[in-house]
């Protein structure tokens, strides 16, 4: 699934990386615990999180995650957006809570893998 579709399904606003929405993701991970994200490496994963600090971007960087969706309408500050721009990452924000956002993507065919 490409990120245009993710944006449309989640009715999300794109905050950075608008020119990178043709990136494909094959799996998704919904978590507020960055150590758990670091424990389960997958290729071309979309990260959905309610956590809002620069370490979310750094965690994604280490994991080769290129796209992050912030849930519950949270908007990252300028510092976080700048860091994501630097790392060529797509940031989006959706009004949906984590559970619903994951459910919508799952229903649309973006299935995570069992750990």
């Amino acid at each position: 699934m490409n990120l245009y579709r993710v944006r449309d399904i989640l009715d999300a606003d794109v905050l950075s990386g608008e020119d990178l929405l043709d990136i494909e993701v094959f799996s998704a991970c919904g978590s507020d615990l960055m150590s758990d994200v670091l424990a389960y490496v997958k290729d071309q994963v979309l990260l959905l999180t309610g956590l809002m600090n620069p370490q979310v971007i750094r965690t994604a960087e280490m994991m080769d995650i290129h796209a992050i969706v912030f849930v519950r309408g949270k908007k990252p500050n300028e510092e976080i957006i700048r860091l994501a721009d630097e790392k060529e990452m797509v940031l989006m924000t959706t009004k949906h809570p984590l559970y619903i956002a994951c459910g919508l993507l799952y229903n649309a065919g973006l299935r995570g893998k069992e750990a």
């Binding site: 960055m34 424990a39 956590l51 600090n53 750094r58 960087e61 280490m62 510092e79």
Partner: protein, 144 residues
């Protein structure tokens, strides 16, 4: 960065004052490995293991020194701090055990996964620690 007959060595002072900066050294190492043409899989394992170690140094020891030695056969990461030390390394290695404060947990860390993750992503992990003196962590990721 020093380059001596296919051996690259990198040194970083890890700043312990600002948690939001933690990970800068690991990010730099990731870039260098990519430039050197190291495989994405090895690069990712090194980046994750070092990032967890770097986070630990910032959370528990007010920063420290990070040295990375890159050879064609392996990447060796040495993290040295002058923090409080680890009284029981075996206990610290258990998933879920953590002494991190609440402000760190609120930032998505401190769940007791750091050391187990470092073990998971490296081929060798050596920890020596003395209470009141500091901790030395050495990790090796083999290129083959």
């Amino acid at each position: 960065m020093h380059n001596n007959s296919n051996v690259f060595s990198l040194h970083f002072d890890v700043n312990g004052e600002d948690f939001s900066l933690a990970g800068e050294a690991s990010s730099s190492v990731k870039k260098v490995l990519k430039q050197l043409g190291v495989s994405p899989e090895v690069t990712r394992r090194v980046a994750i293991a070092m990032y967890e170690g770097e986070i630990n140094m910032v959370i528990h020891a007010n920063g420290g020194d990070a040295d990375v030695i890159i050879t064609p056969a392996e990447i060796r990461i040495v993290l040295q701090d002058s923090g409080p030390g680890i009284p029981d390394i075996e206990l610290a290695m258990q998933e879920g055990y953590s002494t991190a404060p609440d402000n760190i947990r609120e930032m998505g860390f401190g769940a007791g996964m750091g050391l187990p993750n470092m073990k998971k992503y490296t081929d060798e992990l050596y920890i020596t620690s003395e209470v009141g003196k500091g901790t030395r962590v050495e990790m090796v990721v083999k290129v083959q």
